[in-house]
């Protein structure tokens, strides 16, 4: 079988700092990583390949340096890597991103075989929209299974798949037809370490690099800023509250004095809470 996994290279947001004066992002020196959510998708794809045979192709759209993430995916055991990179893609929103990725996947189908499954992560940590997966599915006319927590029966000959997906208030068990697009929920598996053999192979492997034209994109107006219906007008730092906190000291009192003073301060500001607590007091805690 053939599986395509979409991964994105993102700045490690834990290490992003905002310039205190200009409110702009300080990117210098911020390391990049594979979007952590995408690793669950990649690992799931590798497991399916190990079980059923076939190939895993990883795909990313990004600047040339996004090749790093693809190589990393190869060390984990992916078979092939495709980098979609073109200045026309700069400034893409989710609609333009999913257009470019969907077109590239169609091209991958022609060149390397039609995938039974396309995987994406649940969401990215920088865009954080969870919309690119559904966007790709719609454009390729694939059935979509989002927030999948478990892949059940996969019948390649019959062309069907059963999955469990996280829904509001429970888990839906769904059966559908291949090919599908699956967005994988986090915490569903642990990424393997990757073998020595894969590491050696990854170091030498060729990453396929496609510009917009190579990927079969003809309509440039659907790419990048021009192809993005949304426009970012303003980026700003969130403001704090203007009134300052009332501080209650602890050290100069006995715990009892302190506790009473704090409870009094809470109830004074929030009388409704006192009423609620008293009303429900009999429902909890045995006094």
């Amino acid at each position: 079988m053939h599986i395509v996994v979409c991964i994105k290279q993102v700045p490690d947001s834990a290490q992003i700092r905002v310039h205190p004066v200009t409110n702009t992002i300080m990117r210098q020196g911020v390391p990049t990583i594979i979007n952590p959510y995408d690793l669950f998708a990649l690992e799931e794809a590798l497991r399916l390949r190990d079980k059923f045979g076939g190939e895993v192709t990883v795909l990313t759209m990004g600047p040339p340096m996004a090749e790093d993430s693809l190589r990393r995916a190869l060390t984990y055991g992916a078979d092939r890597a495709v980098l979609l990179t073109d200045r026309f893609f700069a400034g893409s929103d989710t609609l333009a991103t999913s257009f470019a990725l969907a077109t590239a996947i169609a091209r991958i189908s022609e060149v390397y075989g039609k995938p039974e499954i396309v995987f994406t992560g649940k969401q990215t940590i920088d865009g954080d929209t969870a919309q690119v997966g559904p966007g790709i599915a719609k454009r390729l006319d694939l059935l979509q299974l989002t927030y999948v927590s478990k892949i059940g029966k996969l019948d390649l000959d019959g062309g069907s798949i059963e999955v469990e997906r996280r829904a509001e208030g429970g888990v839906q068990v769904l059966k559908t037809r291949l090919p599908v697009l699956i967005t994988m929920l986090e915490g569903t598996n642990d990424m393997r370490r990757g073998s020595m053999k894969d590491a050696l192979r990854a170091a030498r492997a060729e990453v396929v690099k496609w510009g917009a034209k190579d990927a079969g994109i003809e309509d440039m107006t659907k790419c990048g800023l021009r192809g993005s219906p949304t426009v970012v007008k303003r980026v700003f730092a969130p403001g704090g509250r203007t009134d300052k906190a009332e501080f209650i000291t602890f050290t100069d009192k006995t715990p009892i004095e302190f506790g009473d003073e704090l409870v009094e301060a809470i109830f004074k500001r929030q009388p409704a809470v006192e009423d609620d607590l008293i009303k429900h007091a009999h429902e909890f805690a045995a006094y």
């Binding site: 990004g62 700069a90 829904a167 059966k175 007008k233 000291t249 704090l262 409870v263 809470i266």
Partner: protein, 369 residues
């Protein structure tokens, strides 16, 4: 949503002068719609919160608020429509069909896109739930319009376009996004980000029925089963009136007992910051913040939480915040109403005891007399 806040985002601010140039076709798009998320007649509260927000936007635009209700034919679905009126809808678009009994992407996407194409709203809001996010992405792509995910604030500009504000760059900044030249302008909003409007008893108003042309045979995805979450496992953090939370400052998973004990003493839900989940001290459904739950309690007590921006965006809707932290410069004090600069391991037991005394029936009688 604007996808890669790569260099593009700040640079794109230069396009801020771009004016909306709506085509004549899109000028017909009017009114503010809310997708009413319901299963078995139970409406997700986020839909009511969005009706409240839709009302504010509609008043500014001088237009109507509509709810879209999809479901199986019958009482349950009609009840959901009736409720939408009580929370402020002027109109309900009602699509009843057996294929809509359980949520599935295919029939729901078709229902929504058909109704939008027929009745043309200028704004369409959905809850950022698993269902809402699954649906919104498909609908926006089908309609080829803009979608801003997980907004924290909505506003109507002078030129009547929708400004949707959301966290970006891992939550360290906010950005305001517009869908200038396409309609509808779509946004998803997480539960509890918007305030719940009051419910007012109202008779059923104008209902516009929509027929979905779809047979079960044409729908490929089948629901084999639904396994409801066990209630005992489920935290009700998002809708709790009182929440007690702890962070890394507690030092160890054992010390979390202090948080749980305070919570159980006052009948509160308990939660935590993200690293606590990453360490495995608590499960992910207890995480509060940008990548966890948004809460709006009347009282939020947090101990040993620094107050990083990703945590703050999840708690700023609280009516009152009490923060306990050893560091007087911790950012949490910027949003706290009452602050205690001291060791949480000492403060929590003292506070628990004080609540216990205050709430014991004996003392209450004494206070009342």
């Amino acid at each position: 949503m604007t996808q890669p806040p790569k260099p593009a985002a700040p640079a794109a601010a230069g396009r801020g002068n771009m004016k909306a140039e709506l085509s004549d076709h899109f000028k017909q798009y009017k009114h503010v719609w809310v997708f009413i998320e319901q299963e078995r007649g139970v409406v997700h509260p986020v839909s009511f919160e969005l009706l409240g927000e839709a009302r504010k936007l509609a008043d500014k635009l001088g237009v109507e608020v509509a709810g879209v209700v999809c479901g199986a034919p019958g009482e349950a679905t009609k009840m959901a429509a009736a409720e939408a009126f009580c929370y402020g809808a002027d109109v309900v678009y009602l699509c009843e069909d057996p294929v809509l009994e359980h949520y599935r992407n295919e029939p729901y996407t078709k229902a929504m896109t058909d109704i939008v194409n027929t009745y043309k709203p200028e704004i369409l809001l959905l809850g950022a739930t698993t269902l809402g996010r699954d649906l919104a992405g498909s609908v926006a792509t089908t309609l080829a319009t803009g979608l801003t995910a997980d907004c924290t604030e909505l506003a109507v500009d002078a030129d009547k376009s929708l400004g949707a504000t959301r966290p970006t760059f891992g939550g360290s900044l906010l950005c305001t996004i517009y869908t200038l030249n396409y309609r509808p302008q779509m946004a998803t909003i997480r539960p509890r980000v918007m305030a719940m409007p009051p419910r007012v008893d109202k008779p059923i108003g104008r209902i516009i029925e929509h027929r979905l042309d779809m047979a079960e045979d044409n729908i490929i995805t089948k629901v084999l089963a639904f396994l409801p979450d066990r209630d005992s496992n489920k935290s009700n953090l998002a809708y709790a009136d009182v929440v007690v939370a702890g962070g890394m400052g507690l030092g160890s998973p054992e010390n979390f007992q202090l948080v749980k004990r305070l919570a159980s003493t006052i009948g509160a839900e308990y939660g935590c910051s993200r690293p606590v989940v990453q360490k495995g001290w608590l499960t992910a459904d207890r995480q509060i913040g940008q990548t966890g739950k948004t809460i709006r309690p009347k009282l939020y007590i947090c101990a040993g939480i620094s107050g990083a921006i990703q945590h703050r965006v999840g708690v700023e809707g609280a009516d009152m915040i009490v923060a306990i932290n050893t560091d007087k410069n911790a950012p949490i004090f910027e949003i706290a109403h009452v602050g205690i600069v001291a060791d949480a391991l000492k403060v929590l037991p003292a506070l628990t005891e004080a609540f216990r005394r205050r709430l014991s029936p004996h003392n209450r009688d004494k206070l009342a007399s």
